[in-house]
């Protein structure tokens, strides 16, 4: 009985133990909730936001490029991109395998793309196939149920002219690289952003890119969009009016293609430095880049011996040959060493510093003055002037005319042109300059080496009487409110030359085309074309003999520099033809461009390029009989 009463007392105690124990548990749970909901609220709030809110970027169309007359050159089209949304993925391997199977893309490539974007939020679409074909799209949509994580998006994509026209000028676009992402000017861009990677696309990328839009949506747990919270439409990039004239560009490219040459041409308006045409051939198709270039095409472009990616106009450096005589003539006249009437006797060569230097006419030109020396391209005359000047004064005038540095054109990766000097040689080799070397320099050989662009600037400067403009590509910008003309860059120098110098040069250069000179193929009946041919040796004559038969094309390059009309020049430029043996063959291309310009100006039908019979020259034989010493 005592034990029973003991039990009677024990029950309330045990109930009390239970209820206080439980109350303690509740307090502990209350603290746990306080910790999660109050102390850690910020963190979980953010996680909840990330759960159901998505901000998807809407790619802005890049600005349209127009030619100087308002013709559309580069625009945008809407392409279909196939993207992967990893958030929806259950089996990545299976998805990639299927996509590879259906689209024909390499599975390894897809895997690489996914790996590259691994650190991005899982809801952000990763583009697997850019610019998919309709067949690929329909193949994918047929198996949509098996591929809930595959998304087909419409995105604005760059569209360039289909015939590779002006490819180097436009450049191309591509996904931003990791190195580019780290640069301050690219803040705000992310992996996958499309930026200009070359040409105008690169230089004016900031203007052309526009601002990507964004769309905020609420999604549920399976990623389905429930409603849109807000949408910021993308702002199209600025529209640019280029200085290019589509018809002149086309005329120049047609000229090259019809005559079967690779090379480069730069046509300027000598009054302003505006670039009317810029050719570099062979070219590439920028459309391949716009759609995400595949590795095979990229490798092919990079390993091609013809180097189609190189913009020869600003990245190719060649010996100017006889076109450099213009510089020597200018220097001699401006330095006051000679007058245009100064005569030199050419006996087919001359001895300087103990060595005999040939003229290309072995019989000699006899007595020639400045005008005739230019017309006939007499080497002896310019050997003599060069010897009088010395290399440093030649360098000075080369530099003043734009042949010793960059032209400053608004294109990326331009290289320096070069006219040697004693200081240059000292810095480069540590050796002193030998006066004998100057003799070769005087006819544009030796170390003289220039880009087509710099030679075009030189020619424009001669044409306009001494103002060295900076060549440029943009005339006006439209930021959506109308066209605002772009102020041209300030000229590097003005009134370089005396009028007598200019007159003498103009006469001589006119005679090259219209007299007994080498530029006859550039002659046009009713337009006073002035010009000068030149030959850029690929390899010295001795080297040529030593090399014998090789794969490399060792034939000389040809130059034709020109301006027209002689007294009030509206066009100036250079045509550079690779392995044409002679500048003679560059002249018809220039002629075609000039004729196109005037036909357009006069409202006449545009001329069609009449391809002269492509000279079937064999390496080592000259198409023009009298030729020696390199110059003509």
């Amino acid at each position: 009985m005592t034990r029973l009463t003991e039990d009677r007392r024990q029950l309330p105690v045990r109930i009390a133990i239970l209820r206080y124990g439980i109350a303690t548990c509740f307090i502990a749970i209350g603290f746990a909730f306080w910790y999660l909901q109050v102390a850690q609220h910020q963190r979980f709030e953010e996680m909840a936001q990330n759960n159901h809110m998505r901000t998807l970027s809407l790619r802005a169309p890049r600005g349209t490029l127009f030619d100087r007359h308002g013709r559309v050159l580069v625009e945008n089209r809407y392409a279909f991109d196939v993207s992967l949304v990893r958030e929806q993925t259950t089996d990545l391997d299976r998805t990639l395998r299927l996509v590879a199977q259906i689209t024909g893309a390499a599975e390894a490539t897809l895997r690489e793309i996914v790996a590259r974007h691994a650190r991005e939020p899982r809801y952000r679409p990763i583009t697997l196939v850019q610019d998919a074909t309709l067949a690929q799209i329909s193949g994918l949509s047929a198996r949509r149920l098996e591929l809930p994580d595959i998304l087909v998006e419409q995105v604005p994509t760059r569209q360039y002219p289909t015939d590779e026209l002006a490819a180097h000028l436009f450049g191309y676009v591509g996904e931003i690289t990791d190195t580019q992402l780290t640069r301050p000017e690219n803040s705000g861009l992310h992996v996958g952003s499309i930026v200009g990677q070359s040409g105008v696309e690169q230089v004016y990328n900031k203007l052309l890119m526009g601002t990507d839009g964004a769309r905020s949506v609420v999604v549920n747990s399976v990623g389905r969009e429930i409603r849109t919270l807000g949408e910021q439409p993308p702002a199209e990039g600025r529209r640019l009016q280029l200085t290019i004239d589509y018809d002149l560009q086309k005329a120049a490219e047609d000229g090259f293609k019809q005559s079967g040459y690779w090379g480069s041409a730069v046509i300027l308006d000598p009054r302003s430095g505006e670039i009317l045409a810029l050719v570099s051939l062979p070219a590439y198709d920028p459309n391949h880049f716009a759609a995400g270039i595949d590795r095979a095409t990229w490798t092919a472009l990079n390993t091609d011996k013809l180097r189609p990616l190189q913009n020869r106009a600003i990245q190719g450096r060649y010996s100017p040959g006889s076109t450099f005589k213009i510089v020597v003539a200018t220097a001699a006249l401006e330095e006051g060493l000679v007058t245009p009437d100064h005569k030199v006797f050419c006996a087919g060569g001359g001895t300087f510093y103990g060595r005999f230097f040939k003229c290309h006419l072995s019989g000699g030109h006899g007595w020639v003055d400045m005008r005739h020396a230019i017309e006939k391209s007499c080497n002896v005359y310019f050997y003599t002037l060069g010897n009088m000047l010395g290399v440093d004064r030649i360098h000075k005038w080369g530099a003043l005319l734009g042949l010793a540095d960059k032209s400053g054109v608004d294109l990326p990766h331009e290289i320096d042109s070069l006219v040697p000097s004693t200081a240059w040689k000292k810095a480069r080799t540590g050796e002193k300059w030998y006066a004998g070397e100057t003799i070769s320099v005087a006819i544009g050989q030796g170390q003289v080496s220039v880009t087509p662009m710099s030679l075009a600037v030189m020619m424009a400067t001669i044409a306009n009487g001494g103002t060295r403009h900076v060549p440029h590509l943009v005339r006006a910008i439209d930021d959506g409110t109308g066209w605002t003309p772009t102020p041209p860059p300030a000229p590097k120098s003005v009134s370089l030359m005396k009028p007598e110098t200019v007159a003498a040069l103009h006469d001589g250069l006119w005679m090259v085309v219209n007299g007994a000179g080498t530029g006859g193929r550039g002659r046009i009946a009713d337009i006073a074309v002035a010009g000068k041919t030149g030959t850029a040796q690929v390899i010295s004559n001795q080297g040529k003999a030593a090399a014998g038969k090789t794969d490399r094309d060792l034939r000389d390059h040809g130059w034709f520099v020109f301006f027209a009309p002689k007294d009030t020049p509206e066009l100036a430029g250079v045509v550079f033809v690779e392995h044409a043996e002679h500048g003679y063959f560059a002249a018809p291309i220039a002629k075609h461009v000039i004729q196109t310009y005037y036909a357009k100006k006069r409202g006449e039908p545009l001329p069609v390029f009449n391809a002269p019979a492509v000279p079937t020259v064999v390496a080592g034989t000259a198409p023009v009989a009298p030729r020696a010493g390199g110059g003509n």
Partner: protein, 366 residues
């Protein structure tokens, strides 16, 4: 048996708290199952509303019949429930990989919910009739027999959560009945010793993975750990005052699965914040404490043990579910009594509180 003056002794505070919780539960089920597209109340809400109605009737009935009379029939009730569970195993209606329901046309009945009442009744009767002052090992083993039959049948469904809940009833009653601390210590030791064996043999793979996931949810953030991470985000993002009724994003956009059922408390925490949590936790605490009062005041040991048995399973489930709702316990299909969606659960729970009220209001009768 039907004396009018009994009703003067009804614990109105307890009854109010119970009905308030059921009402809050209904509101949360409304919130989580409302179809915003068709602007329609979810079918689950209507079902739950009917179940609450039936539950109130069940509560009234369980309150009216003297618990001592019920105790006399405890073995019959126990046997009936055991048969029903057996029936479920063979002819039951299955969903979500387990066979738990008997299909009765308009609604399904889940006998395991009623097994809790049956077990509490039979164990309370057993310990109350025991001649010994304090229960000994023999009593415990005998009582365990009652437990093992029901828990075994339920575990077989499988429904491990409810089976474990039944264990809490035995432990609660046995503790109240004076189970020696030595035995409790021995049981704890036994549990620890057998845990590795249970891990290897008794637990199914999905059960193991749930526990592993609990220990490291990030390891499987898209799979089993998902619910736990989402539960924490749901609760944590609620903040002090919550996002507002039907304004939760985690529950509304289905980031949290079975929001109206196992995770209804997470949604409450999301939509009504820490203040809502304090209010409901307080109500639960009131219900539990008032029930213990009923046990303390009970006229006899039978009444006291019965109440303790009922409060045991109730408290166990509340504590477990609330902890799990905050992502602080492994995910287990245990409902939150009074609030989670589930007809049988709400009916059985209300019936249980009918019995608690029953014991208290008869504390002066002979």
């Amino acid at each position: 048996m039907f004396e009018r003056r009994l009703y003067l002794h009804i614990d109105w505070l307890l009854l109010t708290a119970v009905l308030l919780l059921a009402g809050i539960g209904l509101a949360m089920i409304y919130s989580t199952t409302y179809d915003p597209v068709r602007e329609r109340v979810g079918a689950e809400f209507m079902k739950q509303l009917y179940a609450v109605g039936i539950g109130v009737v069940a509560l009234a009935i369980c309150m009216s019949i003297d618990y001592r009379t019920l105790a006399e029939y405890s073995l019959v009730i126990y046997g009936a429930v055991a048969l029903a569970l057996l029936f479920v195993l063979f002819f039951g209606f299955s969903a979500g990989g387990s066979r738990r329901w008997i299909d009765l046309g308009p609604m399904n009945v889940q006998p395991s919910e009623f097994a809790k009442i049956a077990l509490a009744l039979v164990l309370a009767t057993f310990f109350a009739e025991s001649r010994r002052a304090a229960s000994n090992t023999g009593d415990l083993l005998f009582a365990s027999g009652f437990l093992v039959v029901l828990a075994g049948l339920i575990a077989k469904e499988p429904d491990l959560g409810t089976a474990v809940t039944l264990v809490s009833i035995l432990l609660g009653i046995a503790f109240a009945a004076g189970l020696r601390l030595k035995i409790i210590a021995a049981l704890v030791a036994l549990a620890i010793v057998t845990a590795p064996a249970a891990w290897s043999f008794a637990l199914k793979d999905y059960q193991k993975s749930r526990i592993q996931t609990f220990l490291d949810p990030e390891q499987d953030a898209r799979g089993a750990g998902y619910q736990q991470i989402q539960a924490r985000i749901t609760v944590g993002s609620g903040g002090l005052t919550g996002k507002g009724f039907r304004q939760g994003t985690q529950g509304q956009y289905k980031f949290l699965p079975v929001a109206h059922n196992d995770f209804v408390y997470s949604v409450l925490a999301e939509e009504h914040g820490f203040l809502g949590v304090l209010l409901t936790l307080g109500l639960y605490l009131v219900v539990i404490q008032r029930s213990f009062d009923a046990a303390r005041l009970a006229k006899d040991r039978l009444g006291a043990y019965l109440v303790v048995g009922l409060v045991s399973w109730f408290t166990f489930q509340v504590l477990y579910n609330v902890t799990m709702s905050a992502g602080l316990a492994p995910v287990k299909g245990l409902t939150l009594p009074l609030m989670s969606y589930g007809g049988s659960s709400i009916i059985a729970t209300l019936a249980s509180f009918g019995l608690v009220l029953n014991v208290r209001m008869r504390r002066f009768t002979n």
